[in-house]
Amino acid sequence: MTTRTVLLGTAAALVLAPASAMAERERGSSGHLNIIYWQAVSTMNPYLSGGTKEMNAASVVLEPLARFDNLGELTPWLVDEIPTLENGGVAEDLKSITWKLTEGLLWSDGTPVTSADVVFSYEYCTHPEGGCSYRDRYAGIEQVEAVDDLTVTVHFEDVTPNPYLPFVGAGSVIIQRAQFQDCLGARAPECTDANFAPIGTGPYVVSNFRPNDVIEFVANENYRVPTQPYFETVTWAGGGDAMGAARAVFQTGEMDYAWNLQLAPEVIEQMEAGGRGELLVDFGPLMERIELNFTDPSPDLPDGERGTREHPHPILSDIRVREALSRAIDRELLTEIGFGPMGMATCNFIVAPPAMASPNNDNCLVQDIDRANELLDEAGWERGADGIRVKDGQRLELLFQTSTNAVRQDFQALIQADWREIGVDTRLRNIDAGVFFGSDPGSNDTYLKFFADAQMYASLFEGTDPTPHLEQRRCGREPQPSTQWQGQNINRYCNPEYDELWAELNREADPDRRQELVIALNDMFVQDYAHLPLVARGRVSAASTTVGGIVMNVWDSEHWNQAEWYRIEE
């Protein structure tokens, strides 16, 4: 992973260099850019949607105070410098952070950007009647104070070692107070015009928006860099399917940029070989895993007790079985077939940023059927007549569910075959993604209820701080009847040592010690075989070879530097 990211970083630097060297490039000189999102954008207000595609589209219009660059480093965006303990921007007691806006910033309608807009953005998202998707970015804030026209101080309720959540990253953007002041709380969805064409500070302005279809952008006259953006107009088409989008970039050349091309590696490699476009891949915290259920999902249990900690799982409570299941899987093969260059086999819970990824768990990368068989023998599971193991009259049979998706169904088939080899009989089930990832407590098929023995999905976290992601696996965080099956401790893991270590991480401010703690937590979790990491998945887009300046970014919006994209002249 490290080498790949570094390589991409170098590539980025190489691409950027000619861009700055060619001074004659001017605003609008590159003409028109065509972008295709096969899942169309539904709104331009990221606070009302929460989807990645909406966040990406909005990111060329609405901007945060600071962004993460392609290496995951904080970069000042609407401010001159990142506040830190050293420069006094972060208070000694870690309870406040002060941002200073760059002087002379203008909204696209020509009015100045002030601290009141920043405060308003906070109020907009935290209004009790609004359903703001990025509300957790503003959790634990006591007050956001406008000190003067350009200075904003965020006061936290508690000691906050990581104060870079509010107003940082493509999710928590600054919106214009004048435009949205009548759109607070329950009235937010009624402001259709504002939600579809927000006034922003970014390089582009929306000129036409059709929900779930197409967006047309023109360059922002008041953009702070006078020579940018290089593309005068942008058409951001949506709809169709991933294959069609790939074809439009690689084969017909109708499109310049296509987002999220989750296609079979072989198919996409052959298209790329045509030479009209190139694949952009970078790795973030997205990881495909199998969760193993620590509780008994048997339908024979009464309703309030099925899948709760009252009934430990009859088979999977034994760590030897869990380890055997992990050892039997050929992760390299899964990666090769499902993702090719767009994935990397992994044994870690936290796979990125690179510094946080543990180096201690690579033993699972090689499939080890013999060891798996030994473990099951030790655990007392003996082969029956049909090759399936039996213990005390119980067959080693697991129900393995996942969402409907071509790659996941291939994975299911491969893992079923791997497990069959060690005498485990696996029943497969695939569930419509809308139901599986929903949190309707009335449905028995959600990943939260987890009425199966094993399930596969991918998960990730925002930004570069894995603390909240690690918190999910604490005791008591599991979905259960008393919480209407809400909770993110999906596999119902419970380990007091883990909880203590996490509490320490949550108090720690020193970056080096934090890194150690993250790795320790990760190791504790995966060495318990509490879940089985499979593949670290990359973000995959494609760009035409005629467009330059693109720098893939997994920590922020992919379009974070779209102002610098340009047409390569033949």
Binding site: A188, P189, E190, N212, R247, V435, G438, S439, L460, Q486
Partner: protein
């Protein structure tokens, strides 16, 4: 017949209302979740708040009546105001799609043109091709024309549209470069050149749909013609010395139209719900695309409204079909 039509029209209103209520309750029961498609990074407490902000906290009947009032009164007035420029749009809430948080009526209005261009024309051409093929195939039963027609239509019906669509794209867009593989919904027909572009971009999806529709309708046309060609009245007409053309095209055709009218009447409303797969392959983004994406993300207000309009069209066109039966065969009496 007139009194029958009026009675049926009066009866249509409660029918549509009952259908809409049943659909509403059904969607309420369906195990989808409007926050299910959001990234997993969004915490569950926030999801719950989003659901509350969508109005899901209220009892189902309250939501139904709110929706009904908005569908029947608010949205049509807004659409009318948008089309005519009259200032008749009422204030107050409109039906908001959960996914886009914008009025459903506006989205539907945006989606109608491309749906009519592609799906509507696909259906129209389908009918225009199917009727003559059906008639000739029946008249010359087991001739080579009939055999080829049968073969093509059966293959056309059993091969899914995604297959024909992809083959068309590979052939005409990738290899030959004649037609664009993606439909541009923002294109406006102003003059001859822009019309040519429009013709180019609808050529492939319309061809795919026309083939599929023609396959189905021509089968019914042929079967029904065959039934009638052997009837006694045909022999009588011929023996009276009536021209062959008159016999076939006036008498037999007219008597064979009942099943065909039924099939077409059931088909026309489906033009409105779009052709999901074809729209997806050619990126047409019509009503079918709006419906299927709304279903995927459990955007029930959108699904509910499209279904409501669909139900009206079904009731209406089935009524038209019933009236046509009476005209085609005066012996059919409803009173």
């Amino acid at each position: 017949m007139l009194s029958y039509t009026l009675r049926r029209l009066a009866f249509a209103v409660p029918t549509v209302l009952i259908i809409s209520l049943i659909v509403f309750l059904m969607l309420d029961m369906a195990p989808g979740d409007p926050t299910g498609s959001l990234p997993l990074t969004i915490p569950l407490e926030v999801r719950e708040q989003i659901r509350q902000s969508l109005g899901l906290g209220e009892p189902v009947f309250v939501r139904y009546f709110k929706w009904l009032q908005m569908t029947v009164i608010t949205e049509p007035l807004h659409i009318l105001a948008g089309l005519t420029g009259w200032d008749i749009a009422p204030g107050g809430p409109r039906i908001l799609s959960w996914q886009t948080r914008s009025p459903v009526g506006d989205i539907l209005v945006q989606r109608v043109p491309q749906t009519l261009w592609v799906v509507g024309l696909g259906y129209l051409f389908g009918i225009l091709i199917a009727l003559p093929i059906g008639v000739i195939s029946a008249y010359r039963q087991y001739s080579w024309f009939d055999q080829v027609g049968t073969f093509v239509s059966m293959v056309g019906f059993s091969v899914p549209t995604f297959f024909t669509g992809i083959v068309f794209i590979l052939l005409f867009s990738v290899t030959l470069g004649w037609f664009p593989s993606m439909y541009d919904t923002t294109h406006v027909v102003r003059d001859w050149n822009s019309f040519l572009f429009q013709a180019k971009q609808i050529a492939m999806p319309v061809a795919v749909l026309a083939l599929y529709n023609a396959s189905q309708i021509s089968r019914f046309m042929r079967a029904s013609m065959l039934d009638n060609l052997n009837q006694d009245y045909v022999r009588t007409a011929r023996s009276k010395g009536m021209g062959e053309q008159t016999v076939v095209l006036v008498h037999v055709l007219r008597n064979s139209m009942i099943p065909v009218v039924t099939v077409i009447a059931i088909g026309i409303p489906t033009v409105f719900t779009g052709a999901i797969i074809t729209e997806q392959i050619f990126r047409v983004n019509g009503l079918g695309d709006a419906l299927i994406r709304a279903i995927y993300v459990s955007d029930w207000p959108m699904v509910q409204t499209i279904t409501f309009i669909f139900a009206i069209l079904i009731v209406l066109f089935n009524l038209i079909a019933d009236v046509l039966y009476g005209i085609l065969d005066p012996r059919i009496r409803y009173d």
